[in-house]
């Protein structure tokens, strides 16, 4: 299994989830977003250390997908794990911090 395989599965699942969300089927959309997030989170582990941009984009996507699945604890966990890493690119750091704020706001509601 490679980054591309996990990532492609995630994209297809997220695409289906967006369509369900668009037609108002929130429950099934959230379930599919969670599956997409699981795949994107798995994809992070397959990114070589030197491909920082790829890792950053993948991590931000994973956190955003957990948020869309309303799995706020998982979103927080993945974001904090990435932010504690040594090689987080600046763009990803900013996006992960912003996503954390959004997640924490949603958790407090």
């Amino acid at each position: 299994v490679t980054w591309n395989e996990h990532h492609t599965r995630s994209e297809h699942l997220a695409s289906e989830a967006r369509e369900l969300s668009r037609i108002g089927d929130r429950e099934r959309a959230e379930a599919l977003y969670a599956e997409a997030a699981e795949q994107e989170t798995a994809a992070i582990q397959f990114v070589p250390e030197e491909k920082q941009k790829t890792r950053g984009i993948t991590a931000v996507s994973a956190v955003a997908l957990w948020y869309k699945a309303r799995a706020f604890s998982r979103a927080e966990e993945v974001a904090l794990a990435e932010l504690s890493g040594k090689h987080v690119p600046v763009f990803a750091k900013r996006q992960l911090q912003e996503l954390l704020q959004i997640v924490w706001s949603a958790q407090s509601l």
């Binding site: 591309n4 997220a14 491909k51 941009k53 931000v60 996507s61 869309k68 600046v90 912003e98």
Partner: protein
């Protein structure tokens, strides 16, 4: 050779677009363009201020499509995705390689042909917007807003802001450079 905005079969060239998404974008673009014009249409392409006139063709929508795309906001957004993605393909030779997931919205990552399969190291972020009515000044205003939004946003990845003015028959691309 004059520029052409190719709205058909975009899923065959852009790996981030499935056939159904590409179909929606093409249909939405045809509805947006048909609000103001008939095909074929001369369209001005502006890339970082350099202008060129090209052409866009589309199949005019039937009543069923017009009814299906009756929500102006959603249709303008989807039509803009189609036109701007086709625009970066024509002007920059770049292709949509994945959708950008964010907490509050989404645009696309674009990259040269063949990129984006094994990694996303060559990609740029594409920020998209569409203006249904109005003239060139309204499109220019929207470009300024999108560039500011991209600079102020959480991402400091290099980005391209793309805005299409359907009534103004103008497609604008503008680079948003990486933070120092």
């Amino acid at each position: 050779m004059s520029k052409r905005l190719l709205l058909a079969d975009m899923h065959e060239r852009h790996r981030a677009l499935t056939p159904s998404i590409a179909g929606v974008y093409e249909e939405a673009a045809s509805v947006c363009l048909s609000r103001h014009h008939a095909p074929p249409l001369d369209l001005t392409f502006s890339d970082n201020g350099t202008e060129d006139v090209g052409v866009v063709s589309w199949t005019p929508p039937n009543q069923r499509m017009i009814d299906a795309y009756a929500n102006d906001t959603d249709t303008t957004e989807a039509g803009a995705y189609g036109c701007v993605i086709a625009g970066v393909e024509e002007l920059r030779g770049l292709y949509a390689v994945r959708r950008a997931e964010t907490g509050t919205g989404a645009d696309y990552y674009i990259a040269p042909e063949g990129s984006g399969v094994n990694d996303l190291e060559d990609c740029l972020r594409l920020e998209v917007s569409g203006v249904s009515g109005g003239d060139r000044r309204d499109v220019a205003k929207r470009v300024i807003e999108k560039v500011k939004q991209a600079r102020d946003g959480a991402s400091c990845l290099p980005a391209v802001a793309g805005v299409v003015g359907f009534a103004a028959r103008l497609l604008v691309l503008k680079d948003v450079w990486e933070d120092p």
